[in-house]
Amino acid sequence: MLGVRFAIAIVLIASLCVASRLAAGAPVQPMVSAAGASVGLPLQDVASPPVPPIPSAAPPPYTIKGSVAEMDARLVVCDPNAPPVSGAGVTGIFAPESPPSREIRDLSYLVFAICIVIFVVVQGFLVVAIVRGIRARRLANRSENDSSPEPVQIYGSIPIEIAWTVIPSIIVFVLTMVTIRTLRDIDITTPPENSMEVVAIGHQWWWEFRYPGPDGEVVTANEMHVPVGRPIWLRLESADVIHSFWVPRLAGKMDLIPGHTNYTWFSADRKGIFLGQCAEYCGTQHAHMLIRVYADEPADFETWLDEQRKPAVVDASVDAGRRVFAEYACLNCHTIDGLSDGMFGPNLTHLASRNTIGSGFIPLDRDNLRAWIDDPNQLKPGCNMPSLKLDPPELDAVTDYLMTLH
């Protein structure tokens, strides 16, 4: 009896420990410059104390204005041919919009069909065995006296056992062959014909996209633009830990591994926004490392690329904000072409041309951006960007400046 009481005590203590940690709100430690060290940046916040708890008089925590799904619905509403951007299936594997994901879907149907047949056969035998077994038990119970006390003992049957070894072997052979056939088509080690190379670099917890080209490299973050119909040969690298690039409607996932370059490819069939997210656990904010792929008409894509290649807008009316950006630590981590060259955070040269911040989960508008700069941790707890404790006027100025960076 003692054992049972002891067990209950342990469980209670364990749940109390969990509950107390939850109640304490387990302060989130800033992890700034964890990876900064590896790219040779000055260490910013190593010695600073953890984010202080919010004083009781503080305003209620900021809630994000609007939602990305609503915004996406507005973005595509003008194009009746675009695939849906919200609802079940927008990140599903059964709505492919690109050759590799379509091949996988077709193979999946075949494998599903085989598995369903096996399922029905095996569970069918199980059900029949159960029904017959229960009936045999009832019969035996009823006529206890005139039947033998145990059923017939069957030790095995060589032909039957050969059959249920050989048949699965044949199925396995078929599955192996169809797998290898599909792999030959999509698990390729050289770029497809007429493809465009794009580099994706995973960071804790955002995506960097680089478009190499003879006219200079275009660098953007979290929102990737591609031309419709042209194969994209995506080079996958990581700046810190392992991430995984997964946009289910375009291609299967592939890991981004530090020290090991991977490639994957896709080719969007039609114009639209394709959503995905990091699929390999990469730390605190793994959940908010979303990917947005915009498939544009080739001409639109070229226009976008030209726009992104330009240096940042310099607008005299927001000069105050520009000064704030340059005087505070912002420039250590963020690049704004012509102003700073920080590498640790997303490139902000054309921030306002994007639809989202925070790696795809916050719609970009002035209020959201201001709250983000004020304290990113209230929107994305544990993220690597620190609060710089700007005064409200500075905050407004720098927000206004960033909102001009089209």
Binding site: V4, A14, Q29, I186
Partner: protein
């Protein structure tokens, strides 16, 4: 006190199982918190840091502190009794292994109790149960939590190795007169293969964890890509342990099914020699499939194809087992006691887990489904629908032998149906949310992607399962005091443990039994038609 100093295999086994059940409750509570958080999109019941600790501790606990000790505990209890020996070959080594496991488990959990910044204690580990490099490096995992993870598992791993040595020595050297290898109960075969797998796999993990510890504390560079180390090396080492580990967790449950199903079908196991061959085959093949956990690492088409093929291959011996169990049931007179319900549920659920496994072995499908909730659904069908159902079946089946009292059948059936329904509610929808694109290990998910309803159903299943477990605990407490007295052989079974008293004396058998076939008690009960005639 007589328990703490005991080297009796039965007492150690019961402590193994008891401790495993306590950790089962703790890890279950961790899972319940996760399901609470994921019941709706954008919940803020736990913060991201805590959520990451919850899934890390849940996985680590369930694999190393629940699955392994309970299964090794059953091996400990049953092997000497079933092969007709007085104790394990090395009783003191056996006790040593048990206390290492306890120490390792407590060390791991001490990280949870310790507060931030308290000297020597970190927060709970938050690197996931397979702890991929370089997330575990000093740079990305500060503090001591990952060191606790390493040391806790390292220590309990040594315990598992000593137990495995004991199993092998006992099974090979201490069988009673007449018990040839091919007359051993199926469970002894399973445990023998498991013991060999433990001896092959766990040292690899121990080595990898030592290397990681060197990286973290002595400035080595095994897994640090910045200094020409390899992040992929960790995955190879971990999964070279990790895949055999899956079979370490499922083979003993196969053994439970292979003992319980014949008893309640009133038939001999169908195709004993093929069953043995399939078990040994699984043991060998399971050492050659590890990279199917790494299809998204970019190993290239040749390795992808190879490991896809070997993974398909392992479904053949596994399928043979399922067919042999069906063959055992076929034409039997089935008696649906609680243990039989659980092992029948095992077969039905394991088939589903096996089939989703085939889907994941299809490399291109794995590229879509890997690291999604589909995988979470898959391995819970194998390890919950499989291993845990097997364990519950075994608990109901051998409880009367260990305590002398039967568990209550009515409460047992409630436990089964609640667990079965709760399990299906929780884990079946995960296949859907995974196919809809929901990655695993995210503390919250975006609304409007169709994940909400499936996550809500998953969460609703949790209280149903908890009710089943609560009834089980009540049943145990009640039956220990007031349960029906079992007698030596309550199930009219055929293996040697039922020939001694319940509970057995410390020396197990007054006289070492002799064995004439794979079912020695059948031969005694049916002298007119003994099994020996059919060998």
């Amino acid at each position: 006190m007589q328990w703490a100093i005991s080297v009796d295999h039965k007492k150690l086994a019961m402590m193994y199982i008891g401790a495993g059940l306590i950790f089962f409750l703790v890890a279950g509570i961790e899972a319940a918190f996760m399901r609470l958080q994921l019941a709706q999109a954008g919940n803020e019941i736990v913060d991201p840091e805590t959520f990451n600790q919850l899934f890390t501790m849940h996985g680590t606990t369930m694999v190393f502190l629940v699955g392994m000790p309970i299964l090794l505990g059953f091996g400990n209890y049953l092997i000497p009794l079933m092969v007709g020996a007085r104790d394990m070959a090395f009783p003191r080594l056996n006790a040593f292994g048990f206390w290492l496991f306890i120490f390792g488990g407590l060390l791991l959990y001490f990280s949870y109790v310790g507060a931030d910044g308290l000297y020597g204690a970190g927060t709970a580990p938050d690197v996931g149960w397979f702890a991929y490099a370089p997330l575990t490096s000093r740079t990305f995992s500060r503090g001591n939590s990952t060191d606790y993870w390493i040391l806790g598992i390292l220590v309990s791993g040594f315990g598992s190795m000593t137990t495995a040595i004991n199993f092998i020595a006992t099974i090979l050297c201490m069988r009673c007169p007449g018990m040839k290898l091919m007359r051993m109960p199926m469970i002894a075969w399973m445990m023998l293969v498991v013991a060999f797998l433990v001896l092959v796999a766990i040292p690899i993990l121990t080595a990898a964890q030592s290397m990681l510890l060197f990286d973290r504390t002595l400035g080595a560079h095994f897994f640090d890509p910045e200094t020409q180390g390899s992040a992929i090396l960790w995955q190879h080492l971990f999964w070279f342990f990790g895949h055999p580990e899956v079979y370490i967790l499922i083979l003993p449950a196969f053994g439970f099914v292979s003992e319980i199903m014949p008893t309640f079908s009133r038939k001999v196991i169908f195709g004993y020699p093929l069953m043995v061959a399939a078990t040994v085959g699984i043991g060998f093949i399971s050492l050659g499939v590890w990279a199917h956990h790494m299809f998204v690492v970019g190993l290239g088409p040749v390795l992808d194809s190879f490991f896809g093929a070997t993974t398909f291959l392992i479904s053949i011996p596994t399928g043979i087992k399922i067919f042999n169990w069906l063959g055992t049931m076929w034409g039997g007179r089935l008696q649906f006691t609680t243990p039989m319900l659980f092992v029948t549920g095992f077969v039905a659920m394991f088939v589903i887990g096996g089939l989703t496994g085939i889907m994941l072995a299809t490399v291109p499908m794995d590229w879509q489904l890997s690291d999604s909730y589909f995988v979470v659904g898959h391995f819970h069908y194998v390890l919950f629908g499989g291993t845990v159902f097997g364990i519950f079946g075994a608990l109901f089946y051998w409880f009367p032998k260990a305590t002398g009292r039967l568990l209550n059948e009515r409460l047992g059936k409630w436990t089964f149906w609640l667990l079965f329904i709760g399990f299906t509610l929780t884990f079946m929808p995960m296949h859907v949310s995974g196919a809809l694109g929901m990655p695993r290990r995210i503390y919250t998910y975006e609304a409007d992607r169709g994940f909400e309803i499936w996550n809500l159903i998953s969460s609703i299943g949790v209280p149903v399962q908890m009710a089943g477990v609560a009834i089980f605990l009540w049943n145990v407490g009640r039956s220990l005091r007031r349960g029906e007295v079992a007698g030596d052989d309550p199930w009219d079974a055929w293996t040697l443990e039922w020939s001694t008293s319940s509970p057995p004396p410390e020396w197990n058998f007054d006289r070492i039994p002799t064995c004439t076939s794979a079912r020695p008690l059948w031969d005694r009960k049916h002298p007119e038609d003994p099994d020996a005639h059919y060998e």
